[in-house]
């Protein structure tokens, strides 16, 4: 099963978002977009060119952007707010909490440049706490797709879902290895069935998890690889079903260990099926400037780190 996950080209997840928006612009007249002075970074040029009346430039004023989006949603529109993940979450947490989440507004918070893979801009912009902040908000759906294809499909899927959504994606060019097309919010994808270890990954880390699973399989370890693109609501059934077979679980994500997907899964397993776990995540640290792959290696998020975490559990 794993062999089909390979790639011929690299593309950024943010390009998947931009191309998804272009298609939404053509298909769904209710969709509107707002951006806080980052049109090029969020790949919105085509959407704006084709739908100038449905795009609102808010300038460098993210709090106002969240409030305007809430007002547009109140009056029946489906607004997509577009800026970096750092400015989409921590900077505007109270606006999201009161005007969007508590008020149950159909706003899609679309957040690019998340995590270490933002690269050279450094820790000021490399948010690693956003999943935690957003998953804590009642009623908020949190999605972190793995590649271009999945991000494009997720962008389109959230437009037809009613309720607030946080969609997280990134800056770097990254292997495109997931099939095009369908995206089911909240539904895990079992990419490889196995019996020795459950390996769960989200976002950019999924490609490293695929590499790790291939190597482990070659050395005789049977890996169940699960793509969790929707961190909340979590597909609890898929995870429980898998760990009941394997009894050990590794979670890989480009986020703080505190508050991330691994913590959500640990909570689930502690309540329902206590299981030995390892987390491949950033351990209570800020990032720094560097190239994406260098940073992932330095902060313990490489393919090798995933392999070692799996070996630790099955030794």
């Amino acid at each position: 099963m794993l062999n089909k996950y390979t790639y011929t080209e690299k593309k950024a997840t943010r390009d998947g978002f931009g191309d998804g928006m272009t298609e939404l612009g053509r298909e769904n007249p209710n969709v509107v977009a707002l951006c806080a002075d980052l049109i090029g970074s969020l790949k919105l040029d085509k959407f704006i060119e084709e739908n100038p009346d449905r795009f609102f430039q808010v300038g460098i004023a993210e709090a106002n952007m969240m409030g305007i989006a809430a007002g547009l949603a109140t009056a029946g529109k489906t607004p997509f707010t577009c800026t970096f993940a750092n400015f989409s979450t921590g900077r505007v947490y109270d606006q999201i909490r009161q005007s969007i989440a508590y008020s149950d507004k159909n706003v899609k918070i679309c957040a690019s440049h998340a995590g270490l893979t933002l690269g050279e801009d450094g820790a000021t912009h490399q948010i690693l706490e956003d999943i935690g902040m957003m998953k804590m908000l009642p009623g908020m759906t949190v999605i972190n797709p793995a590649d271009y294809n999945q991000t494009k499909a997720a962008t389109k899927a959230i437009a037809s879902y009613k309720g607030p959504v946080y969609l997280r994606f990134g800056r770097p060019s990254w292997p495109v290895f997931m099939p095009e097309g369908e995206f089911e919010i909240g539904k895990a994808i079992v990419m490889n069935e196995g019996t020795d270890v459950t390996l769960v990954a989200t976002g950019h880390m999924l490609w490293y998890a695929v590499q790790a699973a291939k190597e482990l399989e070659e050395s005789g370890v049977s890996v169940e690889l699960i793509n969790i693109h929707t961190i909340k609501p979590l597909d609890e059934e898929a995870i429980l079903k898998s760990v009941k077979k394997t009894n050990v679980c590794v979670v890989a994500e480009e986020h703080q260990m505190n508050g991330g997907l691994g913590e959500s899964i640990a909570g689930l397993l502690a309540r329902q099926h206590p299981t030995a776990m390892q987390m491949v995540a950033v351990n209570d640290s800020f990032g720094e400037s560097g190239k994406p792959e260098e940073l992932l290696k330095k902060y313990g998020l490489s393919t090798e780190d995933i392999i070692n975490a799996c070996k630790k559990l099955i030794a």
Partner: protein, 281 residues
């Protein structure tokens, strides 16, 4: 429509009684700003707004009203219930458990008339701008109104929104500032001066009017003039002078009753100054 000032005065007297009784019964809440805005809310809901008490969240083809300074919820709840949005008896549940009348307005419990939660300050103008943009996209020629406190203008988001509204010519929006000069910790001028407020709005390219928020003729004529002015390519603000605690002598003109409930004796005193005109709930 001619203005029936006697009718409006009678309603606002009952609204003020409702405010005192809600806050006294909950033994908490914000009577000062609520009393100060009672005449404004009465003018809006009983004369100015084209609105449907059979509440529709999206406000299609009707005027939409947003309250940014959500702590004055008692005056809004009273006017909403008295204009038919929900049963008047429900005012008795204000701030109590299992109520739709939360301490600060919320949509979560489905109270008709409320379109967005407010309470954490400085967010209402942005939401109103969003609704105004949607009305333009929908070719809906009704307008959007938002009331803000003066103290909350200290929040930076308000100035982001002011800039946006002028840049994007949001000319189907009328903002009103409750300019009572008071906030929790004292007068604005001692906490954080707003300076020359009309000049600040003007310099952000808004058209500014100033009114007496206790003169029904002045409120209605000015708001209606602003409505006639909609569609002219600029946003409009009305700076409304009010007196915190208006109508209850010992609460008037001081910040001490911003967020404090009267005790039993004070409640009797307050209610003795406010005529029961429409029947208490």
């Amino acid at each position: 429509m001619s203005i029936d000032i006697e009718k409006l005065k009678a309603i606002s007297s009952q609204v003020r009684r409702d405010i005192i009784r809600q806050v006294a019964s909950a033994n908490s809440g914000h009577p000062g700003g609520s009393l100060g805005c009672a005449d404004f809310f009465t003018a809006m809901y009983f004369h100015i707004l084209k609105h449907d008490p059979n509440f529709n969240m999206d406000g299609r083809n009707e005027d939409m009203f947003f309250l940014s300074n959500g702590h004055i919820s008692p005056v809004w709840y009273s006017t909403l219930s008295r204009s038919g949005y929900f049963p008047i008896d429900e005012l008795a549940t204000f701030r109590k458990i299992n109520s739709r009348l939360q301490g600060h307005p919320a949509t979560h419990e489905g109270l008709p008339g409320i379109r967005i939660a407010s309470g954490s300050l400085g967010q209402g103008l942005s939401a109103a701008i969003g609704a105004a943009l949607a009305k333009k996209l929908n070719k809906d020629d009704r307008n959007v109104f938002v009331l803000m406190g003066d103290g909350e203008l200290q929040e930076g988001q308000v100035w982001e929104a002011m800039m946006f509204a002028a840049h994007h010519t949001i000319d189907n929006l009328i903002a009103i500032v409750d300019w009572n000069g008071q906030q929790i910790d004292g007068p604005n001028d001692s906490v954080m001066s707003l300076g020359d407020l009309p000049a600040k709005w003007k310099s952000f390219d808004w058209k500014v009017s100033e009114i007496d928020g206790h003169d029904f003729g002045n409120i209605i004529n000015t708001v209606e003039k602003c409505i006639d002015n909609c569609g002219n390519g600029y946003p409009q603000v009305i700076l409304m002078k009010t007196e915190m605690g208006k109508g209850v002598d010992f609460m008037e003109g001081t910040h001490h009753w911003h967020g404090k409930a009267p005790n039993a004796e004070q409640t009797i005193n307050a209610l003795s100054q406010l005529k029961e005109t429409l029947g208490d709930y």
